[in-house]
Amino acid sequence: MPTDTTPPLTAQGIVTAYRRRSGRRVALVALAALALFTTVVIDVITGPADLSFWRVAHVIVNPSVATTKEEVIIWDLRLPVALMAVVVGAMLGAAGAEMQTILNNPLADPFTLGLSSAASFGAALAIVSGLSVIPGVGGLFVTVNAFVVSMLASLALFAFTRLRGVTPEAMILVGIAMLFTFNALLAFLQYGASELQLAQLIFWQLGSLARATWEKVGICMIVLAVVMPYFLSRSWALTALRMGEDKAAALGVNVSLLRLMVLAGVSLLSAVAVSFVGAIAFVGLVGPHIARMIVGEDQRGFLPLSALAGALILSGTSIASKAITPGIVYPIGMITSLIGIPFFVSLILSQRKRHWQ
C-alpha cells in the first residue's frame, strides 16, 4: 500500500475515500476484462482461413449454420486455442502473483523457480526415453510426466519451507537451483535425442498453444475455479503478508500455514498450465508486475488483475503468432516476451514511484 496518501480527517471522508478506491478497483478489473474479451474476439476471427467477424459470430451463436469446414476451423481449431491462451495466461498470472507475495520477492514466478523446467524435463523424459512416471496413462504420458515432475519439484520446494529457519530468500535460491538442475538434466536428454524428438522437445521448451483441446481447456478452468476462490478468500491475509511477516502475524495470520497452502495452490496452477502448453516464460513474472503498477498491492484488485494481465499477454501472443506467416505455427514462448516487454518497459518508465516496496 502506498504510504504517501494523506489520510482524510473525518469518518465520512474515510468512507468516501474507501468507496472511491473500491470503485476504481472494480472499474479497472472490468476494463481489463473488456480488453481481454476484445483480444479473444480478435483471436477467434483471425487465421489463415478468411472468415468474417459476422460469420464467425453467427457460427458460434448457432453452430448448426456452419459448413463442415467452418465448424472444424472455428469449433475445433480456433476456439480451443483462444480459450487455452486465456486460461493458461490467467493461471500463470495468478501463480506468479501469489508466488511473489508469499516469497516476498519480485523475481519469483513458476519459471524462475524451476517449475516450468521441471515440467519440460518430465516431458523430455517421456519424449526421448519413452519413460512414463505413472504407468498405464497411454498417449497422455508426455503431459502426465510433465505434471508429475513439476508437482514433485513443488513438493521439494514445499518440503524446504518446512525446514526450521528457512527464509523466503533461501527458498528463491533453492528454486533457482532447481531451475538449473532441471535445465542440465534436460540438456543431457537432448544430446541423445533424434531429429524428430528434438523437434518435439523444442516445442515443449518454447511453449505452444497448438495442442489445445476442449478437454484441456476444461481441466484448466476447473483448476482455476478451485484455486482462485481460495486465493481470494485469503486476500486480506495475503495483503497483510506484503506489509511484513511480523505485522501479518500480529494481525492474527498463521504465516507459515498460509505460505504452505498458497504454495500448494500455486503449484497446482503452474503444473497444470505448463504440462499442457510447455514452458512459457515471462507471463507469470510480468503479469503481476503490470497489475501491481496499476492497482497496487491490495489482493482484491491485484490478484484478479494479475490473472487478467497474464491472460491478455497470452491472448495477444496467440494473435501475433498467427499473424507472422499465416499457415505456419510459431512457438508462443518466444513471442510472449516480444509482446509483453514494450508494454512492461513503458509502464516502468511512466511509473515515478518504486513499484516494489
Binding site: G47, P48, A49, D50, T68, K69, V72, I73, D76, L77, R78, G130, G138, G139, F141, Y191, G192, S194, E195, L196, A199, Q200, F203, S208, A210, R211, T213, K322, T325, P326, G327, I328, V329, Y330
Partner: protein, 386 residues
C-alpha cells in the same frame, strides 16, 4: 526454369563422375584428397579401414555401392538404424550376423558419450558425419578434437539437400571405400530412374501442378499437426515429382510447422504423410509402420485412422482417397528416387501408368543390395464410403 534447376543439380555430379573416370586412381595405395559435402578439403594418408558412421542409416548408401560385405570397413555407428528402422537393421543382421553383432554403438557424435577416447580405442581412421550437423560439429569442437587425434572427418549428405547431394555423396563414399565402380553404377541407376519422372513433369506448367501437403512423420505425436518440409527433402521430392509443395510457399526452411487451419484453407489435392516402423522404439505412435516388414493389413488400418483424424477427415483430398503414406526413411537414403516415382504416380496416374516403382525398387535390390526386397513402402487410404 524448373528444368534448369534440375539440370544444375546434376552438373557437379556429372563433372565429378568425369574426373573420377579420368583419374581412376588406385585408392588403396596412396594418399587420398577429396572435397566433402561441407566444402572442406580432406586428406587421408591412406584408404580408411576402420570407419565410424555418425548415423547408422549411412548403411543404406554403403550397402548400395559395396560389392561385397558393406560392413567390411565399418567399426561402429550410432544406433539410429536399430531404433528407427528396425526392419532394415534386421535385414542387415540376417545377411551379416557377425558384423551386425560387432558394431560398436558410439552414440550421438555430438553428445558427451561419443568420446575421442572411444574413437582412438577403436583405432578408427575416419569418421563420417551428416552435413545437417555441421554447425553442431563445429560448435562442439568435434572436428577439431578428432583432427588433433589424427582422425579425419568427412561430411556426406542424404537428407538436408538430398536431391542435390546424393550423387556427390555417393561418389565420395565410393572413393573412401574403394568402391568407385559400385558408386558409379548406382549413380547411373539413380540418374536414369530420376529422369523417368523429371523428363515428363518438366513439361507441366506451374499452374497445372497439384497442391500437395507433406506431413512429416504423421502419427509420431498424436496431439499436434503438422510438421512439414519446405523446399527440401520430401518437399523437394514432391516438386521433382511435379507437385506444388504447400510448405515451400510459406517459408524457405528445411522443417516447417504448419497449422491445421492453414491446410484446411489451402484445400490440397493430395496429402502425403511419412511413416516407418517406429512402434518398437516408441510404442505410442499411430504412424503407418512402413518398411521391409510392413504388413499391408496393419498399415491399411493405420492409414485410415490417420486420414480420419479431426480436421483431416473432411478434407477434399481425404474424401477423394488421396491421403497417402510413404516410407519415411527414403528421406535419408540414396534411393529417394523410389519416393519421387511413387509420388509422381499418385499425382499423375495417367502420365505414369507404365511406371512401376515397386519394380524399380525390386530391380534396385536385385542389382545393388545385399538382401531381397520385402514388406510395404507406401499405400493410400481408402476413400470414405459416403
Amino acid at each position: 526454369m524448373t528444368f534448369m534447376t534440375n539440370v544444375s543439380g546434376f552438373v557437379p555430379a556429372i563433372a565429378a563422375t568425369a574426373t573420377l573416370l579420368a583419374a581412376a586412381p588406385d585408392a588403396n595405395a596412396e594418399a587420398l584428397t577429396l572435397t566433402d559435402i561441407a566444402g572442406r578439403e580432406v586428406t587421408l594418408t591412406e584408404a580408411p579401414n576402420k570407419i565410424i558412421l555418425g548415423e547408422g542409416r549411412m548403411m543404406y548408401s554403403i550397402a548400395a555401392i559395396s560389392e561385397g560385405n558393406p560392413f567390411e570397413k565399418v567399426v561402429g555407428w550410432k544406433d539410429d538404424l536399430i531404433l528407427y528402422d528396425p526392419d532394415a537393421f534386421r535385414k542387415f543382421e540376417a545377411a551379416f550376423p557377425q558384423d551386425a553383432e560387432r558394431m560398436i554403438n558410439f552414440g550421438n557424435p555430438y553428445a558427451g558419450d561419443f568420446s575421442i577416447e572411444a574413437v582412438l580405442e577403436a583405432d578408427a581412421d575416419l569418421v563420417l558425419l551428416d552435413v545437417g550437423n555441421l554447425f553442431k560439429a563445429e560448435e562442439t569442437g568435434l572436428i577439431e578434437k578428432l583432427g588433433k587425434a589424427g582422425v579425419p572427418v568427412v561430411f556426406v549428405d542424404f537428407r538436408r539437400n538430398a536431391t542435390e547431394n546424393t550423387v556427390p555423396s555417393l561418389l565420395i563414399l565410393g572413393r573412401l571405400l574403394g568402391e568407385e565402380q559400385g558408386a558409379l553404377e548406382f549413380v547411373d541407376f539413380y540418374i536414369a530412374e530420376m529422369r523417368k519422372v523429371t523428363n515428363v513433369v518438366d513439361q507441366i506448367p506451374a499452374e497445372e501442378r497439384p497442391l500437395v501437403v507433406v506431413e512429416n512423420a504423421a502419427g509420431w505425436q498424436n496431439d499436434f499437426c503438422c510438421w512439414s518440409f519446405g523446399p527440401y527433402n520430401y518437399g523437394r521430392f514432391v516438386e521433382l515429382a511435379g507437385g506444388t509443395n504447400y510448405a515451400s510457399k510459406l517459408a524457405n526452411a528445411y522443417s516447417i510447422d504448419i497449422s491445421m487451419e492453414g491446410i484446411i484453407e489451402a484445400d490440397p489435392d493430395h496429402i502425403i504423410g511419412t511413416g516407418a516402423n517406429w512402434a518398437e522404439a516408441k510404442p505410442e505412435v499411430t504412424s503407418t509402420l512402413l518398411g521391409y516388414e510392413g504388413d499391408p493389413a496393419v498399415n491399411a488400418e493405420k492409414i485410415d485412422a490417420l486420414a480420419m483424424r479431426p480436421g483431416f477427415r473432411d478434407l477434399r483430398a481425404v474424401q477423394d482417397g488421396k491421403y497417402h503414406s510413404i516410407y519415411h526413411q527414403f528421406y535419408n537414403s540414396p534411393y529417394h528416387f523410389i519416393a519421387v516415382q511413387q509420388i509422381a504416380k499418385w499425382l499423375y496416374p495417367d502420365d505414369f501408368a507404365d511406371l512401376d516403382p515397386q519394380d524399380t525398387f525390386d530391380r534396385m535390390h536385385a542389382k545393388f543390395m545385399p538382401y531381397d526386397n520385402s514388406g510395404q513402402f507406401w499405400l493410400s487410404a481408402s476413400a470414405p464410403a459416403n
